[in-house]
Subunit: 216 residues, 2 copies
Amino acid sequence: MEKKPARHTRERIAACALALFNAHGAAAVTPVAIALEIGISPGNLHYHFHNKGELVGELLSRYEAEIAPLLEAASLSDDVEDLWQFAHRLFDTLARYRFLFRDLNALMADYPAIAPRLKRLIARKEDAARRALAGLSQSGQLVADEAARGMLAVNLSLIGTCWLAYDEARSGTAANAPARGASQMMLAAAPWLTSDAGARLARLSRDALARPGQRG
Amino acid sequence: MEKKPARHTRERIAACALALFNAHGAAAVTPVAIALEIGISPGNLHYHFHNKGELVGELLSRYEAEIAPLLEAASLSDDVEDLWQFAHRLFDTLARYRFLFRDLNALMADYPAIAPRLKRLIARKEDAARRALAGLSQSGQLVADEAARGMLAVNLSLIGTCWLAYDEARSGTAANAPARGASQMMLAAAPWLTSDAGARLARLSRDALARPGQRG
């Protein structure tokens, strides 16, 4: 009989931790609860992750790996269709790691080792938004000076960081939250667009809303 | 010798709890820490507030009492100057009770009794924004149909709920955060305004930024 590979157990722990953290917040979930959920001993879990901070760090690494190419592509964008696609992909990724930005300051206080990484992620999000807006401005699809683009980038990043937490607090449901978040983000950018780019964005929005559950 | 009035002790407890909750988040502060801080026994604190949930509830009541007339006035507004004043007052109040929206979902999960009240507060914030935008639209200072105004109201409420938490996470400082939050909120509304109303808002903004530490 083959021995179960350690890699497999590590994966199961990470997947289970992610699901439980997303459902209840990282603060409310103990390593013992994770071990119980997947039917291993707390000692076995401890062999793979010495504490909850290591688990949070591992999941943050996965989020960073997924979000980095997305932010890179967004910052090179000069078209409104790219912005639309970006918003949807961003919120899909955010939803899969929603615990990271659910109680952001508590998470940073509880795990000081990962706080600078979360801070850097937000800065990179703002930077990607700023560059995308500069691209749209250069290609004549957006009318806003650099100061306004800077503040708009902060609002876009705020929506792209806090939407899921805000929406959960107000509606108590996660249903369709990523798509609604993407729409709220596009609404923030829309009035700065020239009429042609704005009309294209409105069409994408309308088409997406006409097909609930799907993406444009 | 006069006996110290119970009312006075209750006030000291509430003020100290607010300061500690704001600094560290409600989850990180124990009743014993509050009692120690103001030099009373845990038993005396327990006489006034039976648990942390009661303390959080009392502070939430104070926030509700301060924010209610503000939201009422905002929803009756039909002028851009009112909107500007509202944003500044909102963020000043938020800053004094910042723990309430710092780790919002964790707070709602930790104190289920106050969760519906926080949810209702967010709904009232969105409603006030929606009515203010309808007023600006009727007086010809804002151009947006009802659907766009509804989504913009959600973005304004999102900024007016999450800004301090977001800004703390990205900058690590609370310095001038309310004024910056008010500016971010106004930036969200600005492009929807007619050129005259927009110019007046831009002038208010410029004047305020030229007098750092003061308000316009």
